[in-house]
């Protein structure tokens, strides 16, 4: 529901609900869900909600996830429909929103830090190179995220075919 400012803002929310409070999803699993979300069209927040539901409770969970993801915008926009011009231009609404997006971007920084740490647990050097490469590609080129995901998957498949399996302690 509180997904302002781009689809990824759903990530800290899901982590708070299902990783911190209930310990149902680990950070590395969270990254896998987001990777899969990017391969489908449509809003990332909706895809991530569906997959989180699927991961936790199977098909029924997926349906709950997707319904829960579309209800808030459906209800809010249906109500705002009648006075949207006043609302979108309102000075106080905009002021509150600026503060909220500041808070959300800070929350995102923390989430990204934790996720990056989780993703660097195994194969540290390889993972670090991939992380930085993905960051730079996304920041400085306009290559479609779906294509980046596809390329990342291929790199992994090719690279680890020739690398011996890391022993788990």
């Amino acid at each position: 529901m509180m997904t302002f400012g781009g689809g990824y803002t759903i990530v800290p929310l899901i982590r708070e609900e299902f990783a911190h409070k209930e310990k149902l999803i680990r950070d590395d699993e969270m990254l896998e869900l987001i990777a899969l979300s990017q391969t489908a069209p449509g809003p990332i927040a909706v895809s991530t909600a569906l997959l989180t539901g699927y991961k936790l409770k199977g098909r029924r969970g997926a349906i709950v996830g997707i319904v829960a993801a579309i209800l808030p915008p459906l209800i809010i926009i249906s109500i705002l429909y009648y006075f949207y011009t006043w609302f979108a231009a309102n000075f106080w609404v905009r002021a509150a929103l600026r503060g909220m997006s500041g808070a959300i971007s800070a929350i995102m920084v923390v989430a990204v830090y934790d996720l990056a740490k989780a993703s660097l647990k195994e194969h540290k050097l390889f993972s670090a190179i991939i992380l930085i490469a993905a960051f730079l590609t996304s920041t400085f080129t306009s290559i479609n995220t779906g294509l980046i995901i596809l390329a990342l998957a291929l790199v992994g498949i090719v690279a680890f075919r020739y690398v011996p399996k890391e022993k788990k302690p």
Binding site: A35, G99, F135, L152
Partner: protein
């Protein structure tokens, strides 16, 4: 007939909306404004403005808005369902494939690269929203409190795992105070 056209139009938006956020705007515009003429270009801009001040993905906001315009609340529901249907079907199939107990070595290898890669992608998106909210604010008065909020929230979250909702409301409160300062200095 209207309902069917609404359904098909947003099925198309949902099926081809790759990239998320503002990347889907040209697609929505082509289908909704130019092909069906359900919204004027000005109304389309209004939908984008509402999306900036409400939660939820822009494609779903547009679906609800156009649905309301064309056929009231049932229209809003039909358009929203149509928007998420393609991704729902695809991800259901993925779910069957990827969430099995035992995954093949190839899929496991792909994920070994995808996990850090996705962390990098989210980092890129975070940096850009952080810059947008902290430094590109149009108001010089609000900018400083915003940066303070951002840093304070980072600290609070790192020290003890604070809940997200109170922090967001705290942000709203500080934004309103910033607005008040701006209002008073301008009058």
């Amino acid at each position: 007939m209207t309902m069917l056209r609404l359904f098909i139009a947003f099925l198309e938006v949902g099926a081809f909306a790759f990239g998320g956020g503002y990347a889907v705007l040209p697609l929505i515009e082509r289908v909704i404004v130019h092909r069906y003429g359900w919204l004027t270009m000005t109304e389309m801009t209004d939908v984008v403005s509402i999306s900036q001040v409400t939660p939820g993905p822009i494609a779903l906001n547009a679906a609800t808005f156009v649905g309301m315009r064309v056929a009231g609340i049932p229209g809003a529901v039909i358009a929203s369902v149509a928007t998420v249907l393609p991704q729902a079907i695809l991800l259901f199939l993925f779910g069957i494939f990827f969430f099995r107990e035992k995954r093949s070595a190839t899929i496991e290898h792909a994920f070994m690269s995808l996990r850090p890669g996705v962390a990098g992608l989210i980092a890129a998106s975070t940096v850009s929203i952080f810059i947008a909210s902290a430094f590109l604010s149009t108001s010089p008065v609000v900018m400083d409190p915003l940066v303070l909020v951002a840093l304070a929230v980072v600290l609070i979250l790192r020290i003890r795992r604070a809940n997200i909702f109170p922090l967001v409301f705290l942000g709203a409160g500080i934004g309103l105070i910033g607005g008040l300062v701006e209002y008073l200095t301008q009058t």
